[in-house]
């Protein structure tokens, strides 16, 4: 069994495009949440999101047609461009120019962007007319399938040995990394490019979550509207972006002179089997994911020195996660610093887990854990050793990232400090 190191990380997020900007915002407690500008949401009760505000340059290539096609797709579906940019940054840091048949590509993504205008003919969803229109030469595709980012990555960066697309909702990005970790550890691939991408900041995405009551309507709070574990939390805020990590066998990476940023050493994946919209009230699924990750890493709960919580800022989820953490870390929870970075990024859904693995990775590298800038009064049942309004120095060895998906899919990952 190989030990598995992270040799590259790339990110596009509401708080910064690329690693340095992302980390600086995290460390400074700077929020990327603000009014929605992507579409007219004036008639929606939800009017906030974490949008990627900076321009995201698509990676270049000699094949102009590929880049042009990529840009066209990315214009229709912004998450595609986010994924390509994050992938380019991660591969560059890892010193990998082309994907090969020995590599795995595994991305998590949640929902197709469905342009409702394409489904309207004569004021209603008239599929006869839609079919006619769609079959005309040059007509735009009716859908952008979820594996589109993977297809374009293969075109731009080379064909991987296997390309997987998983759709495990809010756990998808973390699950992609967990699966890739297991695959590299087992020696099935010499490298894995993995992570998540998402953007639901569109009328149907925001509208759908608004209907479910998962998003805060406390629009007046602006940048501080997402307040995980706070007594006044009132729902999550959608974000968008992508994060990609490159995993390689640790010894091989070191032998090749690469810098190993951190080691991935544990992965746990469970299902609540409870409800489509709410977590198991006892936090059983979440707790089992954390325990499975600890077991997989071969460490005791006492060895975890920092947790990046799933922390969505919804009433029930935060309370359940806090209870699960207290149960798993019964002897140490009062001294494990917990950061909930969705307070700054918003909830990136399928990309959330990968972005938060990135936050853990950078916490290890930068020797600081991110703050909780809008946590003022800890909610009842949410008691944990939450980090305050400022980042704190950190030299712990093991960190955990939690991702708990809508529908009851839970993932925990354990990372280990790996200096050099």
């Amino acid at each position: 069994m190989n030990r598995v190191g992270i040799t590259g990380f790339g990110v596009v997020s509401p708080i910064g495009v690329a690693r340095e900007a992302f980390w600086q915002s995290l460390a400074d407690g700077r929020s990327g949440i603000g009014p929605i500008t992507r579409f007219d949401c004036s008639a929606f009760s939800v009017r906030l999101a974490g949008e990627v505000k900076e321009r995201v340059d698509l990676p270049g290539d000699d094949e102009i047609a590929v880049v042009a096609a990529t840009a066209a797709v990315a214009a229709d579906d912004p998450k595609i461009g986010f994924a390509l940019a994050a992938c380019a940054e991660a591969l560059e840091q890892a010193g990998i120019e082309r994907l090969t048949r020995d590599t795995l590509l595994h991305l998590g993504v949640s929902l197709e962007v469905f342009d409702m205008q394409k489904a309207i003919c004569g004021g209603r969803p008239d599929f006869r007319s839609i079919a006619e229109r769609s079959m005309r030469p040059g007509a735009p595709p009716l859908q952008i399938p979820l594996d589109t980012a993977s297809r374009l990555i293969a075109q731009l960066f080379g064909m991987p040995g296997r390309s997987l697309t998983n759709c495990s909702a809010c756990a998808a990005g973390a699950q992609a990394i967990g699966h890739a970790f297991r695959s590299v550890r087992a020696g099935r691939y010499t490298a894995a490019v993995c992570g998540g991408l998402d953007s639901m900041i569109n009328p149907l995405g925001v509208g759908g979550f608004q209907m479910l009551g998962a998003l805060t309507t406390d629009n007046a709070r602006g940048e501080s509207a997402c307040r995980p574990f706070d007594a006044s939390r009132s729902g999550t805020v959608l974000g968008e972006g992508a994060a990609v990590v490159v995993l390689e066998p640790l010894d091989a990476a070191r032998a090749a002179g690469k810098r190993v940023l951190a080691e991935v050493c544990g992965y746990g994946s469970t299902l609540d089997a409870w409800s489509l919209s709410a977590p198991d009230p006892e936090g059983d699924g979440a707790a089992r994911a954390m325990l499975a990750a600890l077991d997989d890493a071969g460490i005791r709960a006492e060895q975890i020195a920092h947790i990046n919580a799933h922390g969505t800022a919804t009433r029930v989820n935060d309370e359940v996660e806090a209870a699960a953490i207290r149960r798993v870390f019964a002897r140490t929870w009062q001294r494990i610093p917990v950061s909930s970075t969705k307070s700054m990024t918003g909830h990136l859904i399928a990309a959330a887990g990968a972005v938060e693995v990135g936050a853990c990775l950078l916490a290890l590298v930068m020797k600081q854990v991110p703050p909780n800038p809008f946590l003022n009064s800890v909610g009842q049942g949410c008691e944990l050793a939450h980090v305050g309004h400022a980042a704190v120095p950190f030299d712990g060895e093991y960190v955990m990232s939690n991702s708990f998906g809508f529908g009851g899919q839970n993932v925990s990952l354990v990372l280990r400090r790996c200096d050099g």
Partner: protein
């Protein structure tokens, strides 16, 4: 590595509403009935027929209607097939929920026209254009909030986990045949390597849904002479030792599941007779092999060559070695 066996199979296909019906029809050389797509006038398409699913009572097979309101067409098919497979293998009685893994594939997201029609009609202005303002003012209030559950891609497998009380490791891959084949490989490995005691592996897809159907034709993924077919298959895998220990009848020994790149043309060995079931197809093919259909028709011993749209130009050949218990 443990020896892997199949102890439960569930199928809902255009050839039959149960595993036995489908296998019997397959062995008899049956073909799906076809009819023009019912939810819209598809005459603008090169081919507008879909395969007909046999009638079945989902609420009776799932033990109630409570969860049906959350389910898309694909979710209903998946839950019914999973219930058949898990009941046959007695998974609830024999395994701790946390030791059962769920390995699934889903197809293109596809809410029914009846689900999205009110949303679209209420959100369209007098010029026939979609209006965000009208969506907020009229469209969302006129829409059943449960629509979200029907279009999120992970919901069909999550419903299976709830219905069958499956709480272990899990993956949901999407949206094509090669991803379904990958779920099968993961499931087999998880049992063989002891990560789980039992793997419930399956897929459901509803490519006859209008939005999916039109896109498949538009993208050239469905040939003019091919018709889409909704369908689902679930199989329960466990170690031979586990089955023997509890006296559970074995349907088939699954000696290997291998997915490897090939250069040969894509080949869905079920497509001509059953219709194209896309994400569900490799799983249906595997389920038929576990039912011993290879003895009378070309399932076991043949291969399923999946196009890989995520890796342009590449193909995956899914090969399985499954032997009937007898």
């Amino acid at each position: 590595m443990a020896d892997v066996v199949a102890t439960g199979v569930g199928l809902v296909t255009s050839l039959g509403a149960t595993a036995d019906e489908t296998a019997a029809a397959w062995r008899a050389g049956g073909c799906a009935l076809r009819r023009p797509v019912g939810e819209f006038d598809g005459t603008a398409l090169a081919g507008s027929e879909t395969a007909v699913l046999p009638a079945f009572d989902a609420s009776a097979r799932l033990g109630g209607r409570r969860m049906l309101k959350f389910m898309s067409d694909a979710a209903v098919l998946g839950c019914v097939a999973a219930r058949e497979a898990c009941s046959q293998a007695a998974t609830r009685r024999r395994f701790a929920p946390g030791r059962v893994g769920l390995f699934c594939a889903t197809g293109l997201a596809a809410a029914g026209v009846q689900d999205v029609a009110p949303l679209i009609e209420q959100s369209t202005d007098e010029h026939g254009r979609f209006s965000c303002r009208l969506l907020g003012e009229r469209g969302l209030p006129a829409t059943n909030p449960l629509l979200s559950f029907k279009i999120l891609a992970n919901m069909p497998p999550c419903l299976v986990s709830i219905q069958e009380s499956i709480k272990g490791p899990n993956y949901i891959f999407t949206p094509w045949e090669s991803q379904s084949a990958a779920a099968l490989v993961e499931a087999w490995q998880a049992v063989a390597e002891g990560e789980v005691e039992c793997a419930v592996v399956g897929a459901a897809d509803s490519p006859s849904n209008p939005a999916a159907f039109v896109f498949l034709r538009q993208a050239g993924l469905l040939g003019a002479d091919e018709c889409p077919a909704d369908g689902a298959a679930y199989v329960v895998l466990e170690s031979a030792e586990s089955a023997a220990r509890s006296g559970q009848p074995v349907l088939a020994r699954v000696d290997s599941v291998d997915l490897r790149p090939v250069s040969s043309r894509p080949c869905d060995p079920l497509g001509n007779r059953m219709g194209r079931t896309f994400a569900a197809a490799p799983m249906i093919w595997f389920a038929l092999a576990c039912l011993g259909c290879g003895a009378t028709a070309a399932v076991a011993g043949s291969s399923f060559v999946c196009p890989d749209y995520a890796a342009p130009g590449s193909r995956w050949e899914l090969r399985i070695e499954a032997r009937g218990a007898a």
